[in-house]
């Protein structure tokens, strides 16, 4: 496109240059120039980089199609298989439950950490320090092997009679170990995100609400948290996506998530690469869905944050856009171009 246009643009710029030199002689008047339809700056390096990328993409495409080790037919065969579906279900279930524990726990720990009660605040701080300080993989293995430390778990009066109890081995299933490991770890990270969000809300909001006679719990729920959400939601979205990928760690404790499922198949059939590709594709599908969902939620919590009229939920659910800010400017540029060419 640029090569086709370049001869005409160079001639016009030369013409305008000479026109400017003529008028420069008369200093009192300003030359009549209309910048609408001005020739754009050309970027030869951009075109070079596009060319390089196109060659690399062609190479990649060639590699994907011609390398027989991908076994695309095997990928296609397993992609919709029921076993894979069950693995995906486990992955999603784990993501949702662990994230719920993380969010609820995170809010509690964050509020506790900001409490005026120094002991509670210190304990919550210690929680964050402890669970963020140990790799989540180590935590998972630890929960899985809890029975070695604590053969029996029971609930009852401290140092007194117990109401209910059982063998740790039968209580802590791989699923429960995974949920505890991922959820408690996540709560520590979420606590910091929530705390940052709560601190981001202006103190005047709390004062105004207090002056209206609202109690502390109500102020938090109705005034501070909804505003903190604007700071909390974007990083939480990233946390959900990270969590979804982190669930693959549970394959080390023999929980049949997506990764463990494909591993157990290729350990039997040796179709390692095609099955890993199946896993990759499904992880990409799931994270893509999460990215889209995240942008919806972010826009919802941004309401009232800008001077523009807010959009309702269905407006942004269907990507309905408001009118462009300066429609007049765009209309002007089109009729002025032919005028320039006649010059």
């Amino acid at each position: 496109m640029a090569t086709a246009h370049s001869p005409t643009t160079t001639t016009t710029t030369k013409a305008t240059q000479s026109a400017q030199e003529d008028t420069a002689a008369a200093p009192d008047t300003v030359p009549a120039v209309d910048v609408a339809g001005a020739a754009p700056v050309r970027h030869p390096l951009r075109w070079l980089s596009v060319l390089v990328l196109a060659v690399l993409a062609a190479q990649l495409g060639h590699f994907l199609v011609t390398n027989p080790n991908f076994e695309w037919s095997t990928v296609g065969g397993y992609f919709g298989a029921q076993v894979i579906g069950e693995g995906i279900a486990t992955t999603i279930e784990l993501t949702v439950v662990a994230m719920l524990i993380g969010i609820v726990g995170g809010v509690l720990v964050a509020v506790g950490r900001m409490s005026e009660n120094r002991v509670l605040s210190a304990v919550c701080g210690a929680y964050v320090w402890f669970f963020r300080g140990i790799p989540v993989l180590v935590q998972l293995v630890f929960w899985y092997n809890l029975s070695a430390l604590l053969p029996r778990i029971s609930f009852g009066v401290p140092f007194g009679p117990e109401f209910i109890g059982g063998q740790t081995n039968s209580l802590i299933t791989p699923l429960l170990a995974a949920i505890l490991g991922l959820g408690l770890n996540e709560a520590a990270y979420m606590a910091e995100i929530v705390r940052g969000g709560l601190l981001g809300v202006d103190q005047g909001q709390t004062e105004a609400a207090a002056a209206l006679g609202m109690g502390r719990a109500r102020i938090l729920r109705r005034v501070v948290l909804p505003q903190a959400m604007r700071f909390i939601v974007p990083p939480t979205g990233s946390q959900v996506i990270n969590m979804m990928k982190a669930t693959s760690l549970v394959s080390v404790i023999a929980l049949a998530d997506l990764l463990y499922t494909v591993q157990s198949i290729y350990n039997r059939t040796f179709e390692t690469i095609p099955l890993l590709i199946v896993a990759c594709l499904w992880y990409l599908v799931m994270t893509s869905v999460l990215y889209v969902g995240q942008s919806f939620i972010e826009r919802y919590y941004a309401r009232g944050a800008t001077r523009n009229a807010p959009q309702g939920f269905w407006d942004f659910a269907f990507f309905r856009r408001r009118a462009a800010p300066f429609p007049a400017a765009r209309e002007r540029s089109t009729p002025s171009t032919p005028e320039k060419e006649t010059r």
Binding site: D202, G204, Q205, E207, A208, A209, A210, A211, L212, G213, M214, G215, R216, R218, R222, V223, P226, Q227, R303, G304, A305, T306, R307, A309, P310
Partner: protein, 273 residues
């Protein structure tokens, strides 16, 4: 509203202490320290029901701090503040005084409205929801009723067409008028105004002062911290001049503003001429 008839008889005249209501606010020897800085050094002040009292003074004189002590946003260190006969923030039992529980402090604040310098509207709620939030959430007023009251209040401050707007879409003056409507929705017996026009562009100050003048005419008890001498002159029943955490003089606008007895008052007012 109770004073409606009275107010129309003599709208701008100072309230005669003999005919005015009983003291609604009684502050006695109020002290407040921030660390080593003593901000209030023994404030004595009475505000009668229906009275409009303007607190004047240079910045740092403790006006705003004193106002914030009245609804216990700041805790006083010594002395006492009573509003409507209730001791604010504390409870007396026999010869001992106890701190109130947060829940009880919250309860006391219901009857005291406050308007802030920076409006502090809830930006995530529409104008209407801002006004309805406390009546519905705190007083458990049925939504339909709260909505009706809120719309009436918005009309009163001249913003009924902005009910569904969000605060950030409004000008500063409009936001402050919404903040006034929000405070009035709790039907307070006392309204505190903490420099309500200081954050506004000069051309927006008038609309907020007009709204406040309107409330004063309706007989609302108001305690106003402001630098608007004109407003004090026109609307106040009493002007109190503070400096260095003390009340230096107090009296009708004519006494304090036109014939100040104190050198500090004269120096302060001289800057506005």
């Amino acid at each position: 509203m109770i004073k409606d008839a009275l107010a129309t008889d003599a709208p701008a005249d100072p309230v005669d202490p003999a005919t005015a209501g009983p003291p609604l606010v009684v502050a006695h020897d109020v002290h407040k320290r921030f660390g080593h800085l003593e901000v209030l050094r023994g404030i004595d002040l009475e505000v009668r029901a229906g009275e409009v009292v303007v607190l004047l003074g240079p910045s740092g004189s403790g006006k705003s701090t004193f106002l914030r002590c009245i609804n216990h946003l700041e805790q006083i260190d010594a002395g006492s503040i009573h509003v409507g006969g209730r001791l604010i923030g504390y409870r007396r039992s026999g010869s001992r005084v106890h701190h109130l529980r947060p829940r009880e402090v919250t309860r006391q604040r219901r009857d005291i409205g406050m308007v802030f310098q920076h409006f502090n509207l809830f930006p995530h709620l529409t104008v209407l929801s801002n006004v309805m939030e406390a009546p519905v959430g705190v007083l458990r007023t049925p939504k339909a009723e709260a909505r009706e009251t809120a719309l009436a209040l918005l009309e009163r401050v001249g913003l009924s067409d902005k009910a569904s707007a969000y605060p950030r879409q409004l000008s500063g003056g409009q936001q402050q008028r919404v903040a006034i409507a929000r405070a009035l929705a709790m039907r307070p017996e006392l309204m505190l105004f903490d420099e309500p026009t200081s954050a506004l562009d000069p051309e927006l100050v008038g609309e907020v002062l007009a709204t406040m003048r309107d409330l004063a005419r309706d007989g609302l008890t108001m305690l106003v911290v402001t630098h608007e001498i004109g407003f004090a002159k026109e609307v106040a029943d009493r002007v109190v001049f503070m400096d260095g955490g003390r009340v230096l003089e107090s009296g009708t606008p004519r006494e304090v503003l036109d014939h100040p007895t104190h050198e500090r008052t004269r120096a302060f007012l001289g800057r506005f001429l």
